[in-house]
Amino acid sequence: MTYLAKSPWIFHYDASSCNGCDIEILACLTPMYDVERFGIINTGNPKHADIFVVTGSINEANREVIQNLYNQMPDPKVVVAVGICACSGGVFRECYNVAGGIDKLIPVDVYVPGCAARPESIIDGIVTALGVLEEKRSKNIHSKVVTDHERPERHNHAQGGAQ
């Protein structure tokens, strides 16, 4: 007996996305696709969410935010990286300020590539995530707390960044 698959509440965070993927995610909520008919709600509160949807890649400004949001979500939880920037960094992967895809920071369960990812592929990604979510629940997997404490650069940033 599981209700997780029938009521996945997503939580969307725009890392350093160009807004292309964000608009496609919001398109999923419109009458055209209407994901609420599957019980999917865009919550905006990590404590109410089951699926963490991230668009865009990691940079210095958002790495702590992503970790904080991920740590605040109650188990079981899954992460969906939407768009090629979230998957690998995309065309920005070699920029001086981009650390790469979301998986450099938090464990990603489903990758939805595309620039921008189509609403159909985003919905497909969420549905795939439901399988992972159910597996995590049945195996009672507890996600680890993600921190930056071991990171050597952390000390430099505390002193004001570039050195």
């Binding site: 997780l4 029938k6 609420e36 008919r37 919550t43 509160n45 404590k47 605040q72």
Partner: protein, 287 residues
């Protein structure tokens, strides 16, 4: 004996009815917005899901307050449906709401605080009108007992139309519908990051959902009392009025809390007091 049975029936059946009402609400809302919408059983699945999640709270006492919230709401409803004293029902209802506010204040979070303060303002906005409703019922039927009011032969709504309209106004606040969904909302899932429920997650959030179902049934019961002399008419009126609330919810933008408090008090003062005064003078004073 019958009152104890009614109380037990309420505690067991009200969540089912309340959940279905919430599901129908979501379906009708979706149709009004040109969407298909979720199944009418979606609220049950949501709550089932919440009970499968981890109970991550900032402060353990939050769980205690959430449990008190649901217990006192069930107690209020049981008191009402067993035909108890209307004034006691209203005070127990307020006590239950206060536990929700305490639960939100128990977590040291700005969003939770904003939600709790807004919830307090909402209580302040609707409370005068709710008490006036009880007074109006007494003046019309000469009884505070729900059992007497529900089985009266007096057409209550025709005697206190002003109080009825005022109660409808506060019902929008109580049901957390636009334009008065200021402490937490069913639709705007991102605004003030869900207000008073911000710091609740998993099972404790599920309890708050169930409490809301209890409350919905209780409020529909209040509406029934206005039409108690004709049960068939009463049921039809309750359904029509709830659909009206959904329509109001979908056609109004959210107002500021200042407007909610001022307008609710103004309605209570004008519609409620004029109605009471007229009734008092026409009946030649309370005998």
């Amino acid at each position: 004996m019958i009152d104890i049975i009614m109380a037990i029936v309420f505690v067991l059946v009200a969540p089912v009815i309340g959940g279905l009402v919430a599901g129908i609400d979501r379906k009708v809302t979706a149709h009004m917005q040109g969407r298909v919408g979720p199944s009418v059983f979606q609220p049950f699945w949501d709550v089932g899901k919440l009970f499968e999640k981890e109970n991550a709270v900032v402060n353990e006492t939050q769980i205690f307050y959430a449990i008190c919230y649901v217990l006192f709401m069930a107690f209020t409803g049981a008191l009402f449906f067993s035909g108890g004293d209307l004034l006691l029902v209203i005070f127990a209802l307020t006590l239950s709401q206060v536990f929700l506010v305490l639960g939100a204040f128990a977590a040291n979070s700005p969003y939770s605080y904003v939600g709790a303060e807004r919830e307090l303002l909402q209580i302040m906005a609707y409370e005068p009108m709710v008490i006036l409703t009880a007074v109006g019922m007494f003046v019309a039927t000469r009884s505070f007992n729900v059992a007497d009011i529900a089985t009266t032969t007096i057409p209550v709504v025709l005697l206190i139309p002003g109080i009825f309209l005022g109660f409808l106004y506060t019902l929008t606040i109580k049901l957390r519908k636009s334009p008065f969904d200021i402490s937490t909302s069913h639709h705007a899932h991102q605004e003030i990051v869900k207000g008073v429920t911000t710091e609740f997650s998993g099972p404790s959030l599920g309890l708050i959902e169930i409490t809301h179902w209890y409350e919905t049934v209780l409020l529909l019961g209040f509406l029934y009392l206005f039409f108690g002399w004709n049960p068939l008419l009463a049921v039809v009126a309750v359904i029509v009025l709830y659909l009206l609330e959904i329509l109001i919810d979908n056609t109004n933008a959210r107002m500021r809390w200042q407007f909610a408090v001022k307008s609710a008090w103004l309605v209570a003062l004008v519609a409620g007091f004029i109605n009471l005064a007229a009734l008092y003078f026409l009946s030649g004073g309370v005998s």
